[in-house]
Symmetry: C7
Amino acid sequence: MKLVPLGDRVVLKQVEAEETTKSGLILTTSAQEKPQEAEVIAVGPGGMVDGKEVTMQVKPGDKVIYSKYAGNEVKLEGEEYIIVRQNDILAVVE
Amino acid sequence: MKLVPLGDRVVLKQVEAEETTKSGLILTTSAQEKPQEAEVIAVGPGGMVDGKEVTMQVKPGDKVIYSKYAGNEVKLEGEEYIIVRQNDILAVVE
Amino acid sequence: MKLVPLGDRVVLKQVEAEETTKSGLILTTSAQEKPQEAEVIAVGPGGMVDGKEVTMQVKPGDKVIYSKYAGNEVKLEGEEYIIVRQNDILAVVE
Amino acid sequence: MKLVPLGDRVVLKQVEAEETTKSGLILTTSAQEKPQEAEVIAVGPGGMVDGKEVTMQVKPGDKVIYSKYAGNEVKLEGEEYIIVRQNDILAVVE
Amino acid sequence: MKLVPLGDRVVLKQVEAEETTKSGLILTTSAQEKPQEAEVIAVGPGGMVDGKEVTMQVKPGDKVIYSKYAGNEVKLEGEEYIIVRQNDILAVVE
Amino acid sequence: MKLVPLGDRVVLKQVEAEETTKSGLILTTSAQEKPQEAEVIAVGPGGMVDGKEVTMQVKPGDKVIYSKYAGNEVKLEGEEYIIVRQNDILAVVE
Amino acid sequence: MKLVPLGDRVVLKQVEAEETTKSGLILTTSAQEKPQEAEVIAVGPGGMVDGKEVTMQVKPGDKVIYSKYAGNEVKLEGEEYIIVRQNDILAVVE
């Protein structure tokens, strides 16, 4: 099963972060503030969205930074995804 | 009786989920958080909606993910439906 | 006397619902949650509304489902009506 | 003195209502919920309003139903008027 | 010194009102609810405002009714003025 | 150092006001309500702003009245400025 | 690694400020109100954003003043950045 986004929607998957605390413990993502960095999984076709022509500028595999307050969390087969509009992607990390 | 949506409206029916708790009980949807996955039942004609041309991109039978905060719940002959605008459908599940 | 709606307005009349409670009592609409199903009584001419061309897609006699949070309640000669914009009608029930 | 409305504004005067309570008392409007029925007193010229072309569709003498939450109350020479935009007039009563 | 409004702004000066209470006292404006009637003092040039062409329809000397919740109060050389957008002027009093 | 505003932004500097209280004390601006009168220090180039063509209508040296709730306060080298959009300037004082 | 902003986004880095308190202590930025002055690090391509053509007017290295309530804070490799839309940049400091 896979998610095929509509319009200017983009399916993201958060990048797992491993971090060491001062006391030496290794924390996985669940114990931390959620990172805003994610990998692009799937990209909508763009085109006419809300009466405005949108050209998609990210592609699967891109690492991106997205707006903290944007997007819908979606769970599919136990995996968590975030679906945002392309406009909520702030920058690509190269 | 059937629902014929207007404009860019789409009639959805939530996908029934059966889930087993840790203690072995089988829960039906009513005891759980509502899933955001639904099946498309009927699709409006699209066309000029709020002064913008809309082309419908989903069809009856599609499994879709829709935005948690969208839509109107409607009950018809004991069955519950959700009517959303196509723009509130985030992705098709294939 | 009759109501002649302006622009994209539609005059609706709620469909009376009779329902039997578990204890056998028959309730009329006033003791229940208001139904969202209504009959179209009169339809505005459409045309240019808020700078957008609107074509009316419902006609008197149609049974429709309308958005719970929309419309103005109006009383005329003891009868209650709801006046909504066509955009607040979600679907026609056929 | 008279009110000459600008743009798509319409000057209304509420229709006086006399009503008999169950105990037989006759109430005038001040002791009741304000009626939403009004008579059109004066009509603006329409034309380009907020960048949109508006054609006036009501005329002095029309009995109209207007939106409960709309309009400005204005007092002129002891008489009370309501000034609404034409878009807040829901229907003409014929 | 004088105020020269920009765009579709209009400078108004409230009309002084003298009123006699039931007990015979004469009240000046400060002890009353502010009247919504005002005299036009100066009128902006209109033209392209917020991307929309605006034609000014009031002129200095006009008595107007303006929306209660609109405008900025401004004090210049001890005199109080209200600066509103033309769209907040409801009607001219003739 | 100087501030060069972008788009339809205008840099203002509040006009210092000296005022004598009833008891004879002289108050400087910090102890008073901030005046809304300001001098234009710098003016953006205008042009296409938010998809709308803006022509700048004020120039450095103009005394202007601006909307009380508008603008960003900015401190540069110990001096305080207010940066507003031209649309928040209500009138020029001549 | 570097941030490549999309659309009309601009990556900023706050200018470090050193300030001496009245008692002689030297404060670094973390103990102060955040400055609104920042250096431009990277600039998006502009073009069609939200259906409006945007031309970028700042370039890397520019010192700018940006709106206090705008932007997303982003951390990359231990460095903090702010990503704003160009429209939230008020002025360039020269």
